[in-house]
């Protein structure tokens, strides 16, 4: 069975004139010129003469060949993960193990492929370095594959050229001894390491620089200064009793070991099945982060102050001499000493290397290393020094670099402005940019080679723990010109082209041995990893504490961070990421300067809520001699005298797509997010510019001036202080309260009328019918009612990281509506994460509130209020207890959405699916209906997954396995906060979780019996010292 896919046309490559077909062509022989006018050989274009049979033969042959030409399946051997490879059944998806390179390591994945198109990304649960979960970026990378703005052809000085042209450049370079420099994103790939060695052999003067957009790796430098080697830390938060985060957003989606951290942290916080103790998390941070909202005790302070706190902590623990530490530091030290080996101190990316060194030393002094902190010996060389980039740029400016290869990096955009990288780039005779987009760097380089997406090319890498992991493609490159990094590096090193498949196999030959290489190779591809290849753990001897923490300079501080939705800008052209609400601010499609209410008052700026949107003052931020304009965002809980800005915005990506222009009566050009150029261009401002030449993430002496202009900011949720007593939506207690009364969540429940106090609303009789009308024909004649689906969400482990939101979007074909329409309240996310501020002092909006998050899918009420009001029965209850939306019956009265107390229903106000670009259509899940304009939609509990599992069970003549059905949000959740399953099975995980005493249902007093329950949140605050630290 051949699978044909829509072929995306690439602009015709320009054929250089020096290429010739034959000597006759070169000489321009008259005979040749004559014959070349005809497209085909003589007679070939004439209609076939002869018999009908001959005609039919030709017809059949052309059909077959035509089909072959459209075949886009990868020609190399890819191994399906679970199903037999030899039988591709149309409509039945296959799953392949692969991995995604992200922030220097790979994330092990299992990718679903429908008829040759990758359609959904999941974590590889069997991988020793994986958790089975995914983060925002793994999920969203699927849309990056289908990004319609991806570059399609090789460019030489901005004009299309061919791969052969580039190859001839590589061959030319082989001849002389060129000074080659490489700026490459950090990679863990053994193949790339091998090719790098080849390159360095071919060009002995090669200067290879690992380039991170966000700047140098302070953690590696700090650990290197402490132990002499940049070991890689792995934190086992589940084993920890006391965790002290010094500005470390280790639970944030941008954290490098995010999935592991979240999984382990959640394990230490989960109160179930008899476990009633949990870790205590202290956070001192310079911005509100996902980690901060999980904290038991959070202190907001400037980044400089956090560094000082680290020094105080070292003094309090007796590691250093110094002034007497503050009460907070003494409190932390006391708790850490009491916890000894089960304490963790860790510092964030915005902290200088010295603080990381201190944390390493403290962990060692606490005997935590080997217990709660593992140090891995990655065998990497010395950590990159901050001055390295400046040195390279100065070489470039001095003409000491002939060839500059930039792979997966975008230095014109994200290098510090003071280095004037783009000026220096002009002095390089052959600058080669390899990337997914014709981005800022591509537009200024002599060569641009379109990079293949990781789902399009072979590769390999190591996970955070070092496990060797192959990357196998699921689709041939969508665009002819695209090549993988290793192919380009190989071409440059050798002057010849080797396919990445052969390159990777060549790397793995010595690893797997040549005896039975093919079997071992297939095994590795099938599993997605090679077992027992993780890095060794090291317990180093005494830490050296050389550097001292620089004193906090005072004044206004600027802290630059990776963005939790677009990372360093590499996801800026991803519409899912742009529309993803920031986990803390809930802002979409924008970049803001975040500051505390007090600082905003001091600067006389504000972001004012007005008619569903925020109107924010635009300010000019000046630091390090550079300035950018950004709107202000006032966030309670942000430290005073500090401004936080996300990196990754202010992009300029070229696209070849024409602008959409529709007549006046048609709104498509206004509603289509792809209508006006590339997604990323023109959103926010580039904060990379504000960094100093060493690319440090913190700048002191920030100047903020009001421009007098305003900017409209759109959020999915406005500021709201939750009055927990009046609206017990998110219920919480302290650990001691929980230990006293595990069922504390029920104390908030309204009394059930007309019955004794013990009766819960769930058991309360309804007005009209029994709970499950099992005797009605619709139920009796269906097997479905044997399963009753339910979900439990643990608010004690959910960090609000958004992974579930993107996973839901990818699984359920949820369309992107754009900034204006989100502002109009028409976003389509089926699953949203509600965020509330909590004030200790009642309803007063304090400057330092707590924050809670609550994922909110459809609650699948048993007495669903939406169902009874639909005039056409377009939303009905399934026999297995889910509330179903029948799209093709829906006429769009929106009555159901009005009557939904959770407001989880989403309406298609426009025909969003009409304008999806052709490539993005390929990303749509064929198992889920694409919704038309004018119909309601909402969370379905991933009914397609339920039915598919039931179908398979039926074909195999068996019952469903326990917990066989997994929803997309549940599968993605790194914290395992979401449990889904069959309530009829008393042994299922969800049934067990529902016995958790912390369980409650939202708005139970409406007697609508939601099938989704929440486990109330428990904090472990401990004794808090009075002073303000």
């Amino acid at each position: 069975m051949m699978i044909s896919l829509p072929i995306v046309d690439s602009p015709e490559a320009v054929r250089p004139e020096r290429l010739w077909r034959s000597p006759a062509h070169l000489r321009q022989d008259p005979d040749f010129v004559e014959s070349s006018r005809e497209e085909f050989m003589p007679g070939a274009s004439n209609p076939p003469s002869g018999s009908r049979r001959h005609f039919l033969q030709l017809l059949g042959a052309s059909m077959a060949l035509g089909g072959l030409a459209a075949c886009r399946r990868p020609v190399e051997h890819v191994m399906p993960f679970a199903d037999r490879p030899e039988e591709l059944i149309p409509g039945v998806p296959l799953r392949y193990a692969t991995a995604m390179p992200l922030r220097g390591v790979v994330q092990p994945l299992v990718v679903k492929s429908n008829d040759g198109r990758p359609t959904k990304i999941e974590g590889n649960a069997q991988h020793p370095g994986g958790t089975g979960s995914t983060g925002v970026f793994e999920q969203a990378s699927l849309l990056t594959l289908y990004d319609p703005d991806r570059s399609r052809v090789l460019l030489r000085n901005g004009t299309a050229t061919s791969w052969d042209d580039f190859l001839s450049l590589c061959q030319r370079l082989q001849l002389g001894s060129r000074r080659v420099a490489v700026l490459a994103a950090p990679t863990s790939s053994p193949t790339m390491a091998r090719l790098r060695a080849e390159l360095e052999a071919a060009f002995p003067q090669t200067n290879w620089l690992e380039y991170r957009a966000e700047g140098i790796d302070a953690e590696a430098l700090g650990i290197e200064s402490a132990f002499g080697v940049p070991y890689r830390p792995v934190y086992h938060f589940d084993r920890a009793d006391v965790i002290v985060s010094l500005d470390a957003d280790f639970l944030g989606p941008t954290a490098r070991n995010f999935r592991h951290n979240t999984r382990r942290f959640a394990a230490g916080r989960r109160l179930h099945e008899g476990k009633n103790t949990m870790s205590r998390l202290y956070v001192a941070e310079s911005a509100y982060s996902s980690t901060g909202l999980m904290a038991d005790h959070r202190r907001r302070m400037t980044s400089g102050r956090v560094s000082e706190l680290a020094a105080e902590l070292a003094v309090a623990l007796g590691l250093r001499q110094g002034d007497s530490p503050g009460a907070f530091a003494r409190q932390l030290a006391g708790e850490l000493q009491a916890a000894q080996g089960s304490g963790i101190v860790l510092a964030g990316e915005s902290q200088p290397a010295e603080v990381h060194a201190l944390c390493a030393a403290i962990n060692q002094a606490l005997d935590a290393i080997g217990q709660t902190v593992d140090l891995l010996n990655t065998a990497a060389g010395a950590a990159t020094q901050p001055q390295a980039l400046a040195a390279l740029v100065s070489d470039m400016r001095d003409g000491l670099v002939d060839v500059l290869l930039m792979m997966g990096v975008n230095p014109v955009y994200d290098a510090p402005a003071n280095l004037s990288f783009s000026d220096a780039l002009e002095r390089v005779s052959d600058s080669i940019h390899v990337g997914l987009h014709v981005d800022e760097t591509a537009q200024r380089s002599t060569w641009h080679v379109p990079a293949a997406h990781f789902l399009e090319s072979w590769g390999d890498g190591r996970t955070w723990d070092g496990t060797l992991t192959p990357i196998q493609p699921l689709i041939a490159p969508l665009y002819e010109g695209a090549r993988s990094h290793s192919e380009i590096l190989g071409a440059l090193a050798s002057g010849t082209f080797t396919r990445s498949y052969d390159q990777v196999r060549a790397t793995w030959q010595p690893v797997l041995g040549t005896d039975d290489f093919e079997t071992a190779w297939h095994r590795v591809l099938h599993d997605g990893y090679l077992a027992d290849t993780g890095y060794d753990t090291i317990i180093p001897y005494g830490a050296a504490l050389t550097g001292s923490v620089p004193p906090s300079p005072g004044g206004l501080e600027l802290v630059l961070r990776l963005d939790p939705t677009v990372l360093d800008g590499s996801f800026a052209n991803n519409a899912w990421c742009q529309e993803l609400p920031d986990p803390i601010t809930k802002i979409v499609w924008d970049n803001v300067a975040i500051m505390s209410p007090a600082t905003a008052r001091e600067l006389d700026v504000a972001s004012t809520y007005r008619k569903g949107r925020y109107v924010a003052d635009v300010v000019t931020l000046s630091a390090n001699g550079q300035q950018i304009d950004l709107p202000v965002w006032v966030l309670p809980g942000h430290p005073d005298h500090s401004v936080s800005v996300s990196l990754g915005y202010g992009r300029n990506i070229a696209t070849t797509r024409p602008e959409r222009k529709t007549p006046i009566w048609d709104t498509d050009d206004k509603t289509d997010v792809y209508a006006k150029g590339s997604i990323a261009t023109g959103i926010g401002a580039n904060a990379y510019l504000l960094r100093d030449a060493l690319a440090r993430p913190v700048a002191s002496g920030l100047q903020v001036t009001k421009t007098g202009r305003t900017w409209t900011i759109v959020t999915t949720q406005d500021h709201g202080v939750l009055d927990v007593e009046a609206r017990p939506l998110v219920r919480m207690a302290t650990l001691s309260e929980y230990q006293e009364d595990p069922e504390f969540a029920l104390a908030h429940e309204a009394p059930t009328p007309g019955s004794d106090e013990k009766t819960r609303f769930e058991d309360y009789p309804t007005l009209w019918e029994d709970r499950h009308p099992e005797d009605s024909p619709a139920f009796r004649d269906s097997d479905y009612w044997q399963n009753q689906w339910g979900m439990v969400i643990d608010l004690n482990t959910c960090t609000g990281c958004n992974a579930c939101v993107v996973a839901c979007q990818a699984e359920n074909n949820i369309q992107v509506v754009g900034k204006t329409e989100v502002g109009n309240g028409r976003e389509l996310h089926w699953l949203r994460i509600d965020r509330y501020f909590l004030s200790d002092d009642g309803l007063e909006v304090s400057d330092d509130p707590q924050m809670v998050v609550q994922p909110m899918p459809c609650q699948h009420c048993e007495n669903a209020p939406c169902e009874s009001v639909c005039p056409v029965a377009a939303t009905v209850h399934s026999p297995d207890g889910t509330n179903q939306m029948i799209y093709n019956r829906c006429i769009g009265t929106r009555y159901c959405a009005n009557n939904c107390p959770y407001k989880v229903r989403r309406f298609n106000y426009y025909n969003w699916s009409k304008t999806i670009p052709e490539t993005v259509r390929m990303a749509q899940n064929p198992d889920v209906t694409i919704r038309f304009r004018g119909v309601m939609e909402k969370c379905s509990f991933c009914v397609q997954r339920i039915r598919s599992a039931q179908k398979n069970a039926g074909l195999e003549k068996r019952q469903l396995h326990r917990d066989e059905v997994v929803t997309a949000c549940q599968q993605a959740c790194p914290a395992e906060a979401i449990t889904f399953g069959d309530l009829n099975d008393p042994g299922s995980r969800v049934s067990r979780e529902r016995k958790n005493p912390r369980r409650y249902t939202m708005l139970a007093e409406l007697n609508i019996r939601p099938r989704v329950s929440y486990l109330a949140r428990v904090r472990n605050p401990g004794v808090i010292p009075e002073d303000s630290a």
């Binding site: 309240g825 989403r906 309601m936």
Partner: protein, 466 residues
């Protein structure tokens, strides 16, 4: 037909002032009313028609724009699924109440003053219900399958969902429209016959002859007519109460704070009568002047309507206050917040507009001088309808924009399409009303003649005659 030769006698009946002033006789009434359908309309009519038909054209263009692009051209959003279209629907249905109330209920209660205004009030009802029916039709997301709300037999045995108040609406409003139309038409028959008899051109005679169903004014015709009219009045009376009760169920059946209220049915009916009378007043104050029928639609008629407006306005105001009391009394946070938010939230201006227009302004009608002041009546009737539009806005939009979960709270901004669609619905309404004025007798001539003193020469209704 009877004719009157003597214009000199005006006999007071009891203490009631005469219903028809100016010593008009039977023929004068025929002449006064029929004349306007026979002559060229005044230039004011042409100007009004030009404006209203332009607005109608705007409405049609905007509906086409809506159908082409989707509901997104309006301001509706996620918490506020129902915006202006439903506000307009309830507003027009409410206006469509006065006519049938005047014809049916006042008929049954033998309120003879109704005869002067019932025809135009009924016409207004029909046209208002047409406007009302328009909005739920165009506000659905997929208008091309709107017929699924009707119980049409089909091979899938797929029926509408009878638990839904929206479905009850479909039945209630369409039945109300049908009965009102028949009632109106039956009342028209004798008058159309009069027009037929007066017709000069053959085509007018044929059309009017067709519409008058062979009416000859025979005793038998009158007997059947009176009986039919009485039966239809009895049939229409419960509908007057049921239609707006059912419309209120759209809100009351739901579980949203601010909607889920048992007071809604009587409160909606009172509000509907309130707004309906105000609209009748607005229209008739202009029409009686332009068509010079002040003697038929007298100041006494207007005053009676003003009293009804005063009574129903006070009832509505009482309901507003009761809602607040119940919210406080319930001790339910969500209810309490919903009402607090009405009075002090971001839409407080709309709430206080409603309160002052509906509760405060009608109270001036306690003063007789103001009840009988044409300018004051005219202004107040318009204020009342503004207030009633805002009442529906308050109920629909303010309740929806902030309900249970503060995370999904949002704000509703109408678009220019919303505004022009509302204006366009007035175009539709006025166009139809102007056509009615042009072609049909705007006063029920036959009925008015019954209340003339000449019809009661023996003072049968008066016990002691002096």
């Amino acid at each position: 037909m009877t004719t009157v030769t003597d214009k000199s006698v005006t006999l007071p009946v009891g203490d009631e002032p005469p219903l028809v002033t100016g010593n008009l006789g039977f023929h004068d009434i025929t002449q006064l009313v029929s004349y306007h359908t026979e002559k060229r309309p005044p230039s004011a009519w042409y100007m009004a028609f030009a404006v209203s038909s332009t607005l109608l054209a705007v409405l049609l263009v905007l509906i086409a724009y809506l159908f082409w692009n989707g509901i997104g051209v309006w301001g509706n959003n996620n918490p506020v699924g129902w915006g202006w279209p439903i506000v307009n629907f309830v507003f027009w249905v409410g206006i469509g109440h006065a006519g049938t109330l005047i014809s049916a209920i006042l008929f049954l209660f033998r309120q003879r003053w109704r005869t002067a205004i019932n025809r135009s009030a009924e016409a207004m009802t029909l046209f208002a219900v047409i406007c009302a029916l328009l909005f739920p039709t165009i506000h659905v997301g997929r208008v091309w399958v709107i017929y699924w709300t009707l119980p049409l037999p089909n091979q899938m045995e797929m029926w509408p969902q009878f638990k839904s108040p929206l479905l009850w609406d479909v039945f209630a409003v369409s039945v109300y429209f049908t009965v009102s139309l028949i009632f109106w038409y039956v009342g028209l028959v004798p008058d159309v016959a009069t027009l037929r008899d007066r017709a000069r051109s053959i085509w007018r005679r044929r059309i009017m002859g067709f519409l008058s169903l062979g009416w000859t004014g025979a005793n038998r015709h009158w007997r059947n007519y009176e009986k039919t009219y009485l039966l239809l009045a009895a049939l229409a009376t419960p509908l007057v109460l049921s239609v707006h009760s059912v419309v209120s169920f759209d809100f009351a059946i739901s579980i949203i704070p601010g909607w889920h209220t048992t007071i809604f049915p009587p409160y909606f009916v009172a509000g509907a009568i309130f707004s309906g009378f105000a609209m009748v007043m607005t229209l008739l104050i202009i029409a009686r002047r332009v068509y010079n029928i002040q003697n038929i639609i007298t100041m006494n008629h207007l005053e009676k309507m003003a009293i009804i407006i005063l009574v129903t306005g006070t009832m509505v105001g009482f309901a507003y206050i009761t809602e607040f009391f119940i919210a406080w009394y319930s001790q339910v946070e969500y209810e309490q917040y919903a009402f607090l938010n009405r009075a002090t939230g971001p839409y407080a201006w709309a709430y206080w507009t409603m309160m002052s227009c509906n509760l405060l302004f009608p109270q001036f009608f306690w003063i007789k001088r103001l009840r009988r002041s044409i300018p004051f009546l005219f202004v107040t009737s318009i204020i009342v309808n503004i207030g009633m539009w805002f009442e529906r806005f308050v109920i629909t939009v303010i309740s929806l924009h902030r309900d249970f979960l503060p995370s999904s709270w949002d704000y509703f901004n109408p678009t220019i399409v919303d505004v022009l669609t509302l204006a366009g619905s007035f175009g539709l309404f006025l166009t139809l009303f102007l056509l009615f004025l042009r072609f049909l007798p705007m006063v029920a001539m036959a009925e008015v003649k019954v209340v003339l003193p000449e019809s009661d020469p023996h003072f049968y209704d008066k016990e002691d005659h002096d």
